[in-house]
Subunit: 410 residues, 2 copies
């Protein structure tokens, strides 16, 4: 009988969101009158902006006429979009990235998952804790996890705790990994790293020959002056880092799917014989072999984001979510709950009240305030004792949630 | 220094289409007056049908309004589309497939490439020759190729020749592989397999515990009564086969990206300990971890294909290409070139004139008739001595090409 990839059998079920859904459903059934406000969800709520809507209708018409119909496009994306990205997101900000180094895709989840294809099977991986689960799960699927310990951690993966104690800044690993994943602005904590912190990481990775996988899916939320939006703002990063970007949270593309990955031409690893190999060529080969390009319609929508109207509308959308985040932060301050994030991120990471676990605080918020959060322990061991709130909601629902929190003491 | 996946370094460059483009460009530069007709391309030329265009405009409006906006959808696709697929493509044709067994994706290239994720790293692979290169290249990337021989074949891959000598019907492999890829109607030969032939394969795979990966991307072109359009028309296939489907050639979705993969719940392999493991759960885990669903817009477009108008328009589109194929076949008959395919497929596989290689015939067609084909040797060793023509063109261009062929003897 043919054999399957055994590593898949090592993965525990992923029950976080189904467990949340179950508890919410049970509570709603017992309290049908309760108006539950969902503040745990990482999905946008605002519709597509007008510039995108216009571009999409136009792109549909292009596909409707034989003269303008586009079939297969380049797997790496249309040159027009790649040029706009390189120019607007990088060169106009003084960052040296070429259009040819941009690989357009159907989203950052695909890219952060598929990037493991081009890594050696026995690579040692380091991740922050708490962490976006895709980084860990995809490496376990690739045989890089080792054994699952009782505390939910994998024996071959290095975890870099980010907690209140270290100001949510991960320390450099004690032993050298081959690959480090960093996501800033961070999901789930909503924290950012300063230029100095990121420089520390880039210097370390260059010195030690470590590949830095930098997930910048939330970069558009950065408003604090001086906080880097791209790893390539740091000198030397072109030699050590791949950057992932997404239009999901920036422009509400979670449903229509668009992202991109930057692989600079200087970035090299070594093959089994120790010869240098450029990662740009490897990723190009991966994408041209296993992917057939993002939807033409969505790529046209992406181009529209770079028009003056598009840029303005994107900014307004993010302003809206950041205003929600500010409302949440003020509310948490008023009731004396410690928190981070929410100023350069749609996520607010909240300390549970003294002595409560993440799930205990989840239950309290649900039962007493009819608010749904995401328990921090679902993102890793170091997330225990925290919950994640998100700004993806209407202003009215956010205001109502905060009103409820203020009206009864915890 | 971190190490890369060494298997990528084993892959030779993929120069087929760039070499074609180079020769065409050189010829055009030398003969600027020549009106070159491209008949090598595997991409559709007709625009999206009206039912799809309407659905897309409507879907854009849904994404434009807060009340109807859809963000993240289920990674496996929206239930509406999966239900329509299961009902129309399977149950109404008497085939037992459940909506829950349909995994909607951004296309068959992604799925046929990514499916290798869930296979054991040392699986032995068998492919037909000639073959769609993605099956081979993705397995080489996964370390299943062995060494590249001088004849362009990989030492660990079993090749099953499909040539005029065996009526383009692959023989069962001499030694048992773990996985067999079959694509019918075939790319590149355009041939189909009868119910008896497919039954032989399903019986073999069940008996020997072989996973059958069945690529049915061209099933909508089947018009010959009795020729199966799905592997699940064969008894027992639910226990041994995964089927890949695409909307690319069916409905001109090459640019907007939609396909699906069927993984029946009975289908099991074994893990490293010999325990049975269902592939449905493995593929679901793969897709939920490394993919975030096909575009909402394209899924809505897919739903529209299942309306009565949509079905009619799809049929008209395929009729059009099949009519082109018939024109090509008649022309080839008239000038005495042997060929197969083109009656249940958009592809016609043509014997080069006696003693000519694929590239020699390519040159002749280009230089004498200003027609571009794809050399069969680009699809594998057994493709030498053939070229592929495609029906994806306007009726006028096809008629003109045939007129040219008839006007001068080869």
């Amino acid at each position: 009988m043919f054999r399957i990839n055994h590593n898949y059998t090592l993965l525990p079920g992923s029950y976080l969101f189904s467990e949340i859904a179950r508890r919410v459903a049970d509570f709603q059934a017992a309290h049908p009158e309760a108006e539950i406000i969902k503040m745990g969800i990482g999905d946008v709520t605002r519709p597509l902006c007008p510039a995108v809507v216009d571009a999409l209708h136009q792109a549909v018409e292009e596909e409707a006429a034989a003269e303008t119909f586009c079939g297969y496009g380049p797997e790496q994306g249309y040159p027009e979009l790649r040029t706009l990205i390189a120019r607007t997101d990088y060169r106009e900000r003084g960052i040296d990235i070429d259009a040819d180094e941009i690989f357009v895709s159907d989203g950052a989840k695909s890219d952060t998952g598929n990037i493991t294809d081009i890594l050696a099977a026995d690579s040692k991986i380091a991740v922050t804790d708490p962490v976006y689960p895709v980084y860990v799960d995809t490496n376990v699927m690739g045989g890089r996890g080792g054994m699952l310990n009782a505390d939910g951690r994998w024996s071959r993966i290095t975890y870099l705790p980010c907690t209140e104690e270290n100001g949510f800044c991960p320390a450099l690993p004690a032993t050298r990994p081959d690959v480090v994943y960093l996501c800033y602005p961070n999901n789930p904590t909503g924290t950012v790293l300063s230029r100095e912190e990121l420089t520390k990481w880039v210097d370390y990775c260059r010195r030690e020959g470590v590949l830095l996988l930098f997930d910048a899916a939330y970069e558009a939320f950065v408003r604090t002056p001086g906080v880097p939006r791209s790893i390539y703002e740091i000198e030397g990063a072109r030699e050590t880092a791949i950057e992932f970007r997404s239009f999901s949270k920036t422009a509400g593309f979670t449903g229509i799917r668009l992202g991109y990955t930057v692989v600079p031409k200087e970035l090299t690893g070594v093959d089994a014989c120790g010869n240098k190999v450029g990662l740009h060529g490897l990723w190009k080969r991966r994408q041209t072999t296993k992917f057939n390009g993002a939807s033409f319609l969505t790529q046209r929508a992406g181009e529209a984001l770079y028009s003056p109207e598009g840029q303005q509308q994107v900014k307004e959308g993010i302003d809206f979510y950041l205003s929600n985040a500010a409302t949440i932060r003020e509310g948490l301050d008023a009731i004396g709950l410690r928190h981070v994030g929410g100023s350069d991120s749609p996520y607010i990471w909240v300390n549970s009240p003294e002595g409560m676990t993440s799930w205990e605080f989840f239950n309290l918020l649900l039962e007493k305030y009819h608010i749904v959060c995401t328990p921090g322990s679902g993102f890793g061991k170091a997330g225990e004792g925290y919950v994640r709130l998100t700004a993806f909601n209407s202003a009215e629902r956010v205001a109502e949630a905060i009103k409820r929190l203020k009206s009864h003491s915890l």
